[in-house]
Amino acid sequence: MFESLQEGLSGALKTLRGKGKLSEANMREGLGLVQTALLEADVSYPVVKDFVGKVTEKALGEKVLSSLDPSQQVVGIVHQELVDLMGPVDHSLHLKPSTTVLMLCGLQGSGKTTTCGKLGRLLKERERKPLLVAADLQRPAAIEQLHVIGEQLGIDVFSEPGAKDPVAVCQAAVKHAKKIGCDVVVLDTAGRLHIDEELMEQLRQIDRKVEPEQVYLVVDGMTGQDAVNSAKAFNEALELDGVILTKLDGDARGGAVLSVKHVTGVPIKFIGTGEHLDALQEFHPERMAQRILGMGDILTLVEQAQQKFDQDEMAKQEERLRKGEFTLDDYRNMLGQTKKLGPINKIMSMLPGMGNMQEMLDGVDAEGGMKRMGGIIDSMTPEERRLPSKIDQSRRRRIATGAGVEPHEVNELVKQFEPMAAIMKQMAGKGMRDRFKMMQDLQKGLSNPNAKLQKAKVGTGKRLSSAERAKLRKQREKEARRRKRDARRGG
């Protein structure tokens, strides 16, 4: 998500590298670039001005002048400012033990109905009993959409077919929830323009008559400068309690998050990172700021890995690696584990320094590729997986047919696997730090798109003296002469 902002900022800060001390003069260019980067990331103009002003002020302080590495200092300040702008954190939905009402509002097409489903799923996971309320009577088939989502999730959905008044629907829904024992009510209101007085008044009506405990604004992460206007209007009408930012799985620079936070002052609760109903994450300003600055989002990755990786399986693999074994079977397992983490691009974006890598992967169908690779390995016999060198032409053809790919793809996989296995074996004995360095080396190799992975040099097991080599050569020559002679006599 934020890659572009990230790239812009790291480009901007690069110009500061190697400057002895920070002064207004040598910072001007860098900060100008920071400003452009933020503007191109759709952060609203006043917010950008404010931001750059604060950073300049802090950077020009005494502490910085005595600093040895000014670029780091500026990164630190920019980072801290970003965190300050986006924080503080409050992920709580403030649920009461009794019936709690949450209300979602926003512009048309910001993703309210999908988010409603995602929240329902989250609540169910937390062992609450949610009721989703189809209060969008405006858009054709909005009610059906919520019903389908509710069905997929096994969550109750309340709607009144033919109803005209959303306020009445919401009131009836709360009553219904109490009756059937649902303890959280999520109101999915119709999308509306913040300048549509009539519809904004309707929202106020719902707010007054249903008294939701929490009101969340759903904002499209791709919104531009206008984010300030709409967020402000909704906040004035309703006193928002939080913001949910959607569609952040694309390449949107997401500057709207800074703008919305700035004008509403309410916490960003969640971010939507995909169309599937489990793609809702808690918002972390620290992580987001790190991501923006290209420091990577290791925490989220570790958290996800812990959730999704099979710990036992990991331990087993680690053990095998330590013994220096890494076969196609292990590779297959690794692919499976990685897949659980989510799309490759998403993972890459969380790793420090991998922002560029992601751009390279752009246009490569990483998931499809992984699926095909898994299929190829699945079509091999256990023996072939252990000793891929056994795979000859006829085996290759059989595997390709089994996996539904072209024979050359089997070849490519095996070729890819060899250097990888060597690296994995080398990694086994090393600590996290060395592994990390190796990953970066690997990445450096990869940044040349034409280069294949270097085949690591591996010992042949014996070292010959020059005399022995000469003897071997003589033997080979003698053998060649003999073959030639035989061939002449035979012919």
């Binding site: 503007l39 097409g109 405006q138 709409s230």
Partner: protein, 311 residues
């Protein structure tokens, strides 16, 4: 209602906002064009989402022309408008209809941009021109998207072809085109599911739909329209690029221009991708769609400002 009035109505809030901003920069006796002025002007232009580069181009133009002089608002405004018109220059481009047989229009865009509503508006437009319309409900992914289009088709009296949720959208597109050929309909509009331009596999699916349509009628789809939400910021450029790469878009439908968002990103898109805007959506009703005329668009943006100033 003509384009000018419609768009003016749609942009009313927008231009009010922009105009008060610009007017604030001037006093009755004119204003000195200095760095402060240019800075303020930049801020106003950036707020339209036109992007840093076009805003800079306009500010530079104003700077070179008037720097260090005391100017009246009308003169500066005329320069801004002229430059903006130059940046947006494009021929007036309505839908190009096929010489014979149905004209196939494919509609694509990110999630929630307003594709289905825009299709309803387009269908209404063609119906009002006395044309038969077939709609293809190609959004087989999102829950109830087909129902949404069905309701529109019923309201507008258009023919519709649909598949089950989760079925192959390319097959729906194929059948929609086949139906149009069979019934002799003049226009076939194919809806597609919303997708983010970075979702590689979904973009490939879009390319496939495009290809399948082309198999029935060689030059189809005759138009590929990208629906762009006017509130979208600089990401609109990426959307235009990626969608054009995938399905060779022929134009943009700028939806939701009735809010305070100015849709200025189309200036940047015109510059970087070359994609023209064809239609503008200014409301939720089927008739709230109007042909895009760049010069009038720019004029409408500043219209309220000129009138009182002249009076």
């Amino acid at each position: 209602m003509g384009f000018f009035n419609k768009i003016k109505q749609g942009l009313k809030k927008t231009s009010q906002l922009l105009n008060t901003d610009v007017r604030d920069l001037f006093k009755a006796e004119g204003r000195l064009i200095d760095e402060d002025f240019l800075e303020e002007l930049t801020a106003i232009l950036i707020k339209t989402d036109m992007g840093v580069a076009p805003a800079k181009a306009i500010v530079d133009e104003v700077g070179t022309k008037f720097r260090a002089r005391v100017m009246q608002m009308e003169d500066v405004l005329a320069t801004i408008k002229a430059k903006l018109k130059e940046l947006m220059a494009q021929p007036e481009e309505p839908i190009r209809f096929a010489a014979q047989g149905p004209t196939v229009i494919m509609v694509a865009g990110v999630n929630g941009a307003g594709k289905t509503t825009s299709i309803a508006k387009l269908a209404h437009l063609f119906k009002s021109q006395g044309k038969q319309v077939v709609l293809g409900a190609g959004d087989t992914f999102r829950a109830a998207a087909v129902e949404q289009l069905t309701i529109w088709a019923e309201r507008l009296g258009a023919d519709m072809v649909k598949g089950d949720q989760g079925s192959d959208p390319a097959s729906v597109a194929h059948r929609a085109v086949a139906r149009a050929i069979e019934t002799g309909a003049e226009v076939c509009i194919v809806d597609t599911a919303g997708r983010l331009q970075t979702q590689q596999n979904l973009m490939q699916q879009l390319t496939k739909i495009h290809r399948v349509i082309g198999k029935q009628i060689p030059e189809a789809p005759h138009e590929v329209l990208l629906v762009l939400d006017a509130t979208t910021g600089q990401n609109g450029i990426s959307q235009a690029k990626h969608f054009t790469d995938a399905v060779n878009c022929s134009g943009i439908v700028l939806a939701k221009l009735d809010g305070t968002a100015k849709g200025g990103v189309v200036v940047a898109i015109r510059q970087q991708v070359g994609l023209p805007v064809k239609y503008v959506g200014v409301g939720e009703k089927p008739e709230d769609l109007t042909l895009f005329v760049p010069d009038e668009f720019v004029d409408a943006l500043f219209a309220d400002l000129i009138a009182p100033a002249a009076a």
